[in-house]
Structures are given as C-alpha cells and as structure tokens.
Symmetry: C2
Amino acid sequence: MLQYDQLSLNIPDTQKPRVVIIGGGFGGINLAKKLKSKDFQIVMFDKQNYHGFWPLLYQVATAGLEPDAIAEPLRKLFDDCDDFHFRLVKVTGVDTALKQVKTLIGDLPYDYLVIASGSKTNYFGNKQIQQNAFPMKQMTDALNLRSQLLQSFEQASMTKDPGMRQALLNFVIVGGGPTGVELAGSLAEMRKHVLPSDYPGLDFSLMNIYLVEGLDRVLPPMSPEASAKTRQYLEKTGIQVKVKTMVESYDGETVTFKGGEQIRTQTLIWAAGVQGSLIDGLPADAIERSRILVNEFSQVNGTQDVFAIGDVALMKTPDYPNGHPGVAQPAIQQGALLAKNLFRLSKQQVPEPFKYFDKGSLAIIGRYQAVADLPKKLHLSGFVAWIAWLFVHIWYLIGFRSKLIVLSNWLYRFFTYDRGTRIIIRPHVRKDDTVAHEILAKSEML
Amino acid sequence: MLQYDQLSLNIPDTQKPRVVIIGGGFGGINLAKKLKSKDFQIVMFDKQNYHGFWPLLYQVATAGLEPDAIAEPLRKLFDDCDDFHFRLVKVTGVDTALKQVKTLIGDLPYDYLVIASGSKTNYFGNKQIQQNAFPMKQMTDALNLRSQLLQSFEQASMTKDPGMRQALLNFVIVGGGPTGVELAGSLAEMRKHVLPSDYPGLDFSLMNIYLVEGLDRVLPPMSPEASAKTRQYLEKTGIQVKVKTMVESYDGETVTFKGGEQIRTQTLIWAAGVQGSLIDGLPADAIERSRILVNEFSQVNGTQDVFAIGDVALMKTPDYPNGHPGVAQPAIQQGALLAKNLFRLSKQQVPEPFKYFDKGSLAIIGRYQAVADLPKKLHLSGFVAWIAWLFVHIWYLIGFRSKLIVLSNWLYRFFTYDRGTRIIIRPHVRKDDTVAHEILAKSEML
C-alpha cells in the first residue's frame, strides 16, 4: 500500500532551464515536441497517461472505434527525448512567488510553467444534471455512454411497460456544437444500419434522437451556410432538432425544457458546455469565465514565467475578442509558437506574438454528409467535405498504430456498414438504481 | 430506473423445439451456429454481450492488443438467424421437473437445455488470495491487470523507498499452465523492448518475473518435451521459474510459499486453477469437482433433456478418464456434435457418441519461441511452432474485423517491437489502499 512519505516526484536536478507542462493534450504535446531539440529539461504532468484524440471520442461512444485507437501513451510519444520526464500525477496549484508547482505527490520548482490543462464539462451549476447526465469529455465518458446505449437496447428487449421502453429508446443530446451533431449523426447511422438486425424484437421506428441547442442554429461556431446544410442532413436522417431550447432540469427519468416541454428519457447526453481546467494559485484577475487570461505571447496576466495555451487559455486579439475557439488548431499553433518563444526568452530575445491561422472547421453527420468552412469563406458540403473530414482526422491523429487501427475500422465500416465494438465491458449503472445494481451484482458484473 | 415487475424475458412462443443455451463461449456459439439451419428456436443467455477469445486475453493484459479486438458481439454473430434470441441476463438455476430455466428476470420453459457456461477462477477456498490477487479469466481482469502493471511502473518512478520500489517491480504469476507461461513471456518482452525507453528513470534489471507452479514442470498438460523446451525459453528470457512450489498466503504485500519462502510483491497474478460455472437445480450426484457429469452424448446424469458442454462439463471416456482438457477444441467439437444430436433426438433417431479429436496444443513464450504438441506425438518448437501458433489463433478468432485488428497489431509489433495500448483508462486501486484512493479521487480518476 502506498504511503505519502514514500512518494516523491524524483525529477533529476538540472543546469538547463526547466519547463513544466501541465497537460498532454494538443497544446502540451506540440509544445514539448518543438522544445525537444532545444536546451531545456521538460517535465510533463498529466492525470492520465495518454494523449486522447478527442475529435473521435464520439466514435468510441457509438461503438465505431476502440478506445485504444484514439489514445497514444505519452511516455511513448517522447521516448526519444533525453531530458523529458513524465509524471502521472495531478497538479493542484502553483506558487508564482516561489516559482513552484504543487502536486499531490510533492512540489517542483520551475523556470517556465505552461498550463495546457484543457477544459472539462460545464454543467452551469446544475448539480442534478451533473449527477444524471452523460458527459462527453474523456475516455471513461465515452465508454460509459457506449455501455449505456447497449444496455438500453438490452433492457428495452426485456421491458413489458411501453412507457419505460420508449424512455429507453429516447436519446436526448444537449448541445448542438460539433460533438452533439456528430454524436447524433452516429446514433442515427446505428439506428438505420445496425440495431434492427441486432435486436429483431425491437421496433426502431420508435427510437427517437433529439438534438437540443440553446442558440438559434446548430453548429453555432460555423458559418450559417454550414449550419443550414447540417440541419438539412440531420433532419433527413430522422434526427429531431430543437433550437432555441434550453434544459431546465433532468432527474434521470424526464428532461424538462424551459417553457415546460418534457421528454421521458433514460439517456441525456450533455455536450452543452465546457470550462477551463484551472489550478489554484493564479492571480485572481487572471481568470475570466473560467479561462486564464494571457497576452499575445501566451503569458499569464500578472506573471512573468507562467504561460497558458489551448482551451484553458483566453487570449483576446482583434480577430478573436472573446478568445480563440476551443478546438485543436489554436492549441497546436500556440504550443508550437510558445516553444519558439521560450527559446528566445531563454536567450533574452524578443518573442513573437501569436496570430491564429484558421485552417477551417469541419463537422460530419453521416456517410457522404459533412460540412466544411475553409479559409477565404469557402464552404463545402457533401462528399468532398466528407473526404476532407476523414483525411484531416487521420492526418492529425497521433501515432502510426492508431492511424492503422482507425483506418482499418473505417474501411471495415465503409464496406459492411457494421460497427464492430458493440460490447459492454463494464456495465454502467446509476447510483440510485437499486434494481439494476442488484441484477448486476448477482451477475458478478460489478 | 428499473422495476422488477416491468421486466420480462419476452421470448416469443413457438411450435418448434426450443433450445436454451447458457453461455456464448466456444461451446455455445458452435452449437448455435450448427443448429441455425435446423428447425429449432434458439435462446442464448449470457451475462456478457460478447464472445471473448480468451486465448489472447493475456495480450490485452500486457498492452499488446485492445480488448475490442478479441470480443465479438453475440447479437452480431447471429444476426442472420431468424429464430435466435439473445438475452443479457444471468441464469440462476434450472427446474428439471418443470423443464424451466430460472433467470434474474424471469423463467423460461425449454425443450432442450444446454449448459455451456464455462469456468471461473478457482482460489481453492483461499479468501485472502481472492481479495488480493489478480485473476485472468475475463476482460475486466485483463484491463485491471494492464492498469496495475502500468500504475506500478508509474508509482515506482515516484517512490523513494527502495523496498517498496522493488515490491512494485516484482511480479509473481501463480500457475504454470499456458496462461501463466504466455503472460510471463509477454511481461519479459515488455521488460526488454518497451519499458526501459518508457521509464528512463527506472532500472529494469531490478524487475523480477516469477512463474510459480505446484507440479514438477511448467505446462503440465503438454508433453515433457514441450515442458522442457518451454522452461529453457523462459529462463533464457530471464524469468525465474519455481516448480513444485505452492502458495500459502498473499496479503497484498508479501506472498508466502509453503516451506516459508517469501517475496514482496504488489502484483500477484492468479492463473492457478479454474472451476466450473455451475447453476442451481442440477441433481447432486451430477456434480463432481465442480463440473457437471455427462455421458458420451453430453447428457447430464440423471436428466433427459439437459446437456452440458465445454469447460463446465465432465465427460469421462476411456481416453480421458478425468474429463477433457479445459481448452477450446473440446468445447468446439462437443458443440458441433450436440447440434447434430439434438436434431437426431428431435426426430427420435439415435445420437452419435462424442470422440475427441485432439488437434494438438500450442503455447508461446516470445518472438520465435513457441512449443507445439501435434497428433502422432509430433513435437515442434522454435520458429515453426511460433508460426503455427500465430496462424491457429488468427484462424480461430471470431469475426473478420477482429482478425484485421489483431493482424494489424501483430504486424505493427513485429516490426517495431512496440506495444501500442499502454494506456490506463480506469486505474486499479485496492479497496484498502487509502492513500491511493485519495490520490485518485482528488485527481478525478475514480
């Protein structure tokens, strides 16, 4: 058994400047990659030992990809780097005066600290939704949702009560951004191509997929053209889109919208908001809307040697007065530039300000159905956008093995329409569901 | 939330004879496959919704394969069969007088019942080992072990106390059968090719792998030639083999062997015994050494229409007075023959007695290192046996997608020596390990 006094970070002392990176996401790994060749010691902390390719997380949730296909072990990514040190531990705070990070294991002095901790689900203070809804931010979320989907169909096969059966076949996705749209599209494909032959006793014309968005269109970050096309695709696939609709409450059985409408559902998926994953010890005026305010060099307001990049950072620029979108590209580009800038700063040279190059946005609804906003206000949809989406995602996926496995799965799915990972490894059960708990416990599945 | 009175098995009534199969393992699925074309209604119960290819489970545990690659959804396997019904529910017992199976959801009458529920870990009554050891029988076992292995190295990187660090680097595998041997070989390959570059701060010459066997040789079910060759391979790879050694106790910190020797270890893997997964309601004299006694037609002693096949069955024949080995081939062959025999019985024809055709046994230790016992007392080892092992496993793996993914992983590993799934999705923590619990809870990893 572990004892706290036995534990220590064990980072070797060094003469080189030490860069501490919190988080192994897009920002953190691109920063570390570009720093590798320079004269720094790099220490990376993350509470998870792999880099997750979150754009494909929804495919894990809908049994189209295995989780291991979108996860690259962080130690493997940097095993060719001499002075790179990874520690699987959570960073709890920073002491900017002493220039130390604080972790659950111990403290570590830094020369430069880069906070790249990303974002987490935002329930907007609604604890009931937090308790009952299914988020979609990390791997366990996707696996719990996968189990929940499959368990719902199994239970629906064994339910006599038509009201409960309908509740098991109603799926409500809250959040009309890319995550919600892609999840809805994927569920609709399952409903059409896979589920009827898996569950011949169930009538899948009764399965409802709702996509709920608070603003006035789906895919609000994309162009109106992309939104309109996406809505068309979604409705053609039989998804019921509700815009300008906000969730009031969800008790695990019924979701109530502001305005009073209710839907009985056992599965409410919350893809409706994110907030930054903050750490303690930053200046109070450096936090705005749970993101960390930084200047154009990614320096945290009120500090010299603390930086923030990616989703957790809020860099206000003329083009992006509310900060950059919480997608991969800003994190990747900020990480790469910061590596260059840390090198310059360590040589007392002038750093380069960040200018975001928006390479465009993509979203996919189904087979041959995608939308793309490209630079110079070019909008694509349909087959071309679909091919672009596939290509971009394989390109940016980290790790040769992952590319191989994902491509194999996609080719398999393209030709067979099948989704190969329809397996429940760890059943999901709500804490208050005593009957389900009892059944699973007696089945030795808990 | 579920209510018991809402649940029902919902199996449609039928004029055809109903065959109820408990278990979707090698025996159950081969029986169902061969029955498909005949005039039966087939109902399959399993507490898990997929068929697991357990011969490759050890590769999931040692981060060489993803779990989804060795799991085939049962509904998918039989989606082309009109009168096949799957229910994800545990069968608790049988009433042979009323000819009904009892499940946690409800009862179902049968015409023929086939118990193909397989086997589970046997701790020989030692509750302390059951609480502290890592079994290797089902998917969650392999994933827990994978997490434990990776977490051990992470913790070892952060441990100041040399005694604890050594305990984290000592791995004791109890059971010198194929499971234990293949696991040991796989761990040795990780130690040699992967771990030193993943954990540059750790000295892997300190990592010990022990393989402990109670009988006088490893691989007791195989030939003495195979055992001797295997021992040679194991020791050449640096595995410490202890035969004629039994475990007295294991408290989670130290394993004590009969005779007094002790080894400090945080990871004791129990691959030392199995017992049949029985159900209630069978005649008492039909159970022997926790397996179900059957005649040469797989009929359970003392019943007419209840059968048992595979690991759970004990069929004594002149060639196999203690029953057939608990491997795939007897289950596959018994399942196929039983399908033929059920057809004959339903037509009042004479069934055919079972005669096991032993196609041979294989075990793998490492790259180019395998042993094979073939019919006519032919023994192979080395490269030829290794190729045979690879080929046979891909051949018998169920599902085209699985074959594709496994082959991709093996090709990738062959050329890079890398193991791609070194990820901890759900950390493992022992119930009594309060410090680890606290750290994981504060890291939001629980």
